[in-house]
């Protein structure tokens, strides 16, 4: 066959003088049909390894340790199988049972009626994820009944730092029937339980298979007790430096749900662009969006917030201010409102802002607060209750404010010197006025005052923060590098914090300037202080050098490493996490994401062999 093929090829060749002297030595030895000659073996404490050992016979007692499919091997191999993030405790069977989504039923009888609608949506997401394991089509039909009985104790549907996310998951297989019990205080706990349930399931397809046949298998028995260590497990996505289409944001949310992250910190605006439609102030997008198609309509935002909620994720909208505000704010004069922002798009920029384009809100202009109030009203209308607003608050450049005569004379009127401390007062005044506006607006909706988030800055330095920012009201998101004492200092002062050490959990680092890329190992290895005041952490995807084209590979699987750090804060090594993360990666791919490769595929086929 091969010989004929070659000869036929030769006749079409352009190469003169090539003599084809095919010896048959190599053709005779093995047949042409590709027959993979390995299986995966679960090696205790190491993981799944491709093994050339002859296929064990069915009567062989060791059958259970060999698998055709790497993914199936992973869901039963090791104490935590293929679950990411690692649960607190898990006992998993090493047996599997074949299932089909058509015979999967959810029993919601023991769920408060108020939560049922949302829970139904949650189960739909899970069912779709199971189909996705097989590329949308589970060809192998088995009629094993799978009943998922969900018990939810409270009718709470709001999502905040007090939301109880713990769950219990039990899977039992008896007489050709699988019963799955999920018990949780809230539907969000139940959702995490469902997510974990879906991670006990895998397609039985071989990796790098060329066949369409696909069935689903489930770990036949499991007992899992689980709850998060940190309450705030977030991802920052910047949609101002580049516009990120909704479909890409949703895909990112899917990844977050897969890894039980619970806060989508939407850095919606910056000085570069203002893509967030505000119905009360349409000027923001008109003057701030990159184009008519590069903005988020109110409708889309609402839909996204619901999309996230169904996935157990709270959306925090950040309106960065008073710095990082420019485009979108530059229309004040034209509308008779004076300068709402100063040094917008100023050039040369180096003394006025951290990066072009510059822009800082004008705290001397009462109209600015009026517009801000309108914006906050719109944000409050959009967010689920209790609404969490991030007020930004980073990288204020006094040089910018100092360049405005209007601001300088305002400061004189207020009795502020034009010294560093004077500008600090102005800055602090801005935040407190903004907070007051926010409080008024949510109180108008009948809600109690809510804490707001703020980036760490010069204003939040230990010796200064107490004068300007009330620790009961502000949660400080600390992005100082690892060697900074600020986080510890703020904790000592009694502030609640969210930690995003920039030199380790910033996803954009390593592509610009002198920043260094943290790979998942480095991100995973970092731990946060176990302190009441540490609500949790975030990974941050700033998008100066990233847009929708590169988004997935920049974020995944690295964000997942942080997700596990925040969920279970494991003491085990990076090395022992790798097989589970490899499984997570294939799961993310099945769910439509494009995570980066962590190693040569050979290493994922040979756990523990690439140390």
């Amino acid at each position: 066959m091969a010989l004929h093929g070659l000869l036929a090829l030769m006749t079409t060749m352009h190469l003169a003088g090539v003599l084809c002297n095919v010896e048959s030595t190599f053709d005779e030895i093995t047949p042409q049909i590709y027959e993979p000659s390995w299986m995966y073996k679960c090696v205790p404490d190491e993981g799944c390894q491709r093994s050339e050992h002859p296929r064990p016979t069915l009567s062989d007692n060791s059958t259970s340790a060999f698998f055709d499919s790497l993914d199936v091997c992973r869901i039963v191999c090791g104490r935590f199988g293929g679950i990411w993030p690692k649960p607190v405790t898990a006992a998993l069977s090493s047996q599997t049972v074949k299932i089909h989504p058509n015979y999967l039923r959810y029993d919601l009888l023991n769920v408060p009626a108020e939560t049922r609608e949302l829970l139904v949506e949650m189960t739909q997401v899970i069912s779709n994820n199971l189909l996705a394991e097989c590329g949308g089509h589970v060809t192998e039909v088995v009629d094993t009944q799978v009943v998922v009985i969900i018990v939810v104790k409270t009718a709470i549907t709001s999502l905040n730092w007090n939301t109880d996310e713990q769950y219990m998951l039990d899977v039992q297989t008896r007489g050709g029937e699988v019963s799955v019990h999920i018990e949780a205080e809230t539907i969000y706990g139940a959702r995490h339980g469902l997510e974990t349930f879906s991670q006990l399931i895998s397609s039985d397809k071989r990796d790098f298979s060329d066949v369409e046949h696909c069935g689903l298998v489930l770990v036949s028995g499991a007992k899992i007790r689980d709850r998060p260590i940190y309450k705030h497990r977030g991802l920052v996505l910047d949609t101002s430096r580049h516009f990120i289409p909704m479909v890409d944001i949703k895909r990112t949310i899917d990844g977050m749900a897969t890894t039980k992250m619970n806060v989508f910190h939407w850095h919606a605006t910056d000085s570069h662009s203002f893509p967030l439609e505000a119905s009360r102030v349409p000027q923001f997008t008109r003057y701030g969006a990159y184009s008519g198609s590069e903005m988020y309509t109110t409708e889309e935002i609402r839909e996204l917030i619901h999309y996230a909620k169904v996935r157990g994720i709270r959306v925090v909208i950040e309106i960065d201010a008073p710095a990082h505000s420019g485009n979108g704010w530059q229309w004040g004069r034209e509308y008779g409102l004076g300068d709402l922002a100063v040094c917008v798009n100023a050039y040369p920029w180096r003394h006025l802002c951290i990066e072009p384009p510059c822009g800082q809100l004008n705290p001397a202009n009462p109209n600015m607060y009026r517009v801000l109030r309108n914006l906050y009203q719109d944000v409050a209308d959009l967010l689920n209750s209790p609404p969490l607003l991030h007020m930004g608050g980073d990288e204020v450049y006094f040089g910018c404010w100092n360049s405005s005569q209007e601001i300088i004379s305002y400061m004189k009127d207020q009795g502020y010197d034009t010294t560093e401390e004077g500008f600090m007062k102005l800055w602090g005044e801005f935040h407190n006025k903004a907070l007051q506006i926010w409080d008024e607006e949510i109180s108008a909706k009948g809600l109690d005052p809510q804490p707001v988030m703020l980036w760490s800055s010069q204003l939040t330095q230990a010796q200064r923060i107490s004068q300007h920012l009330d620790k009961e009201r502000y949660i400080i998101e600390v992005w100082e590098p690892l060697n900074s004492p600020l986080l510890t200092q703020l904790l000592r002062l009694g502030y609640r914090t969210v930690s995003v050490p920039k030199d380790i959990w910033y996803l954009d680092h390593g592509f610009w300037g002198r920043t260094v890329y943290s790979n998942w190992r480095r991100m995973y290895a970092h731990t946060l202080p176990r302190d009441e005041g540490v609500l949790g952490g975030e990974v941050a995807m700033w998008t100066e050098y990233c847009d929708a084209q590169a988004l997935d590979t920049r974020v995944w699987p690295r964000a997942a490493a942080v997700a596990e750090r925040l969920w279970s804060d494991p003491t085990s090594t990076v090395y022992s996490a790798e097989p589970r993360l490899q499984r997570l990666r294939t799961r993310l791919i099945a769910r439509g994401l494009r995570p980066d490769a962590m190693s040569p595929a050979w290493c994922s086929q040979h756990d523990s062999k690439c140390l």
Partner: protein
Amino acid sequence: MMSWGDALWLGLTARFARVGRLRRAVLMLAAAACTAAAVLYWKQQTDDSANRPLHSMYSGIEPQWSWLCQHDRCERYQASDTTTLQSLQTCNMLCASTQLWPQPTGPVSLASAAVPVRSDRFSLKVIASPSRDVTKHINEAFIVMQNHMRTLEHGVVGENRRSDIGPPRDVLVKVSVNGSGDPRMRLDTNESYKLALRPSGNSLVVDITAHSFCGARHGLETLLQVTWLDPYAGSLLILEAATVVDAPRFPYRGLLLDTARNFFPVSELLRTIDAMAANKLNTFHWHVSDSQSFPWKLDSAPQLAQHGAYGPGAVYTSDDVRTIVKYARIRGIRVLMEIDTPAHVGRAFGWGPEAGLGHLAHCIEAEPWSSYCGEPPCGQLNPRNPHIYDLLEHVYREIIQLTEVDDIFHLGGDEVSEQCWAKHFNDTDPMDLWMEFTRQAMHVLERANGGKAPELTLLWSSRLTRSPYLERLDPKRFGVQVWGASQWPESRAVLDAGFRSVISHVDAWYLDCGFGSWRDSSDGHCGPYRSWQQVYEHRPWATETPESAAWPVEGGAACQWTEQLGPGGLDARVWPRTAALAERLWADRAEGATADVYLRLDTQRARLVARGVRAAPLWPRWCSHNPHACL
């Protein structure tokens, strides 16, 4: 922010006077704008605004920007502030920068006006062609170009083509090739071309003249670059006139992709090749196999993939290779397949004993790996087993047959572990074994190539290409792909000794660097990340030494090794950095990453994205909108 009165005045006089032919035709002084201005002016005067809700003051116009070329820069304005509505794309094309990438090396003159065109109104006439084969290739390359235009047109949403831009012009593309009748990219291929685009009556005529198919194809690529989609006009536009005289500085302009550490489907390879063509790169260096996997199923030795592939879905068949080669050929690109030996082999060569051929390789997946190779898993051919040379002859023959590249060949040859061989052959110096292996491999390569050595047979730089071993290699037969850091003396030594070289310095052109270590025990990775600016500014041949004038630098290649890269991330890792390399090797301008380079590369990046390539952005989108403000 200027007042409305000022804006109106400027719009009526200064700006309108600068408007070119197209802009006058396309872009309006809309009565609507006047009305809006008047209304707004009135609003500004009335001072009850403090109490009215903001949205009632809003004039209700979609966010829209207009770009005007002022002082050789495209400046962004609110569309309502200007009398003309011009897209960023059109402004960029008609303003100061050529917007061509890579920058042509000969004289360029471009019109500052554009006319509407449509992909299906382009027609081709081959005026002169040295062979039928070349004619066929020109026809296919023309269709490729037309398809790219069609893809751009798909970007026009719905039926929003503006009627006032006038009817699309017919474009007649006349191609003359006077020279080689061989359409392949060869070492001696003359890639120069001339392009002349001019209006002729109501239509346009393009003359492309070249000395080879590849040159003519480059001309078509340049023609594609002076054609763009104007989203405001809802139409393709083309410069009304242009002349470009162009030729590359270096004959070898490559990108290496490793398909062994991670497998990449054929579609990813094709897209990469298409992006290479957009940048006039000419060599797809396909590092097919390595110790981790052997994804190519040869007809003459299917065992290699049977034992070495990650799975049956991670295999390139001969048909796949032919598809890739043909696709590349039409795009002026040679496919240089590298089966790396004698190191960097693995389980693919592990079936010798059971086939009665003895050990074809040693140290396969030996542990601890750090004793026998640079990264897991290990493996190295057995230079004493004569069957290995028979097998290599099959491999080489099939490479040459499938790729139809017979003037240049890559033998691999890097990172041989002396310890591995020393363990099995304690009677011989491993360096002698290596030298002997290389000779033998060269010998079977000659046989596989019809008894004739390829004009240039490349080896990776290694201990073998350093003194005292370098002296034992023949610079008439071997060339060296130099990958050591640029400060290393090895590049210079190799070049001084007269070896034709392809530069791939790890500290400038390794695209895999900067992602940390993918294994626990070693930090054998390179870092930091090489930015596109670093890629661009690397000019190792530009030294003061007198010998350098005679250095036989063939060109260079960016290397995308894939230990930490899978299919989904390929594009953003490779592009736009490899585009930066493409201009370095094509034009080799003495300047570094200047403002003009940013502008042109940003446009080129947008072209790649429009072609379906997920290239990473250069900077925030605001900087694309306000290019000069970020420099």
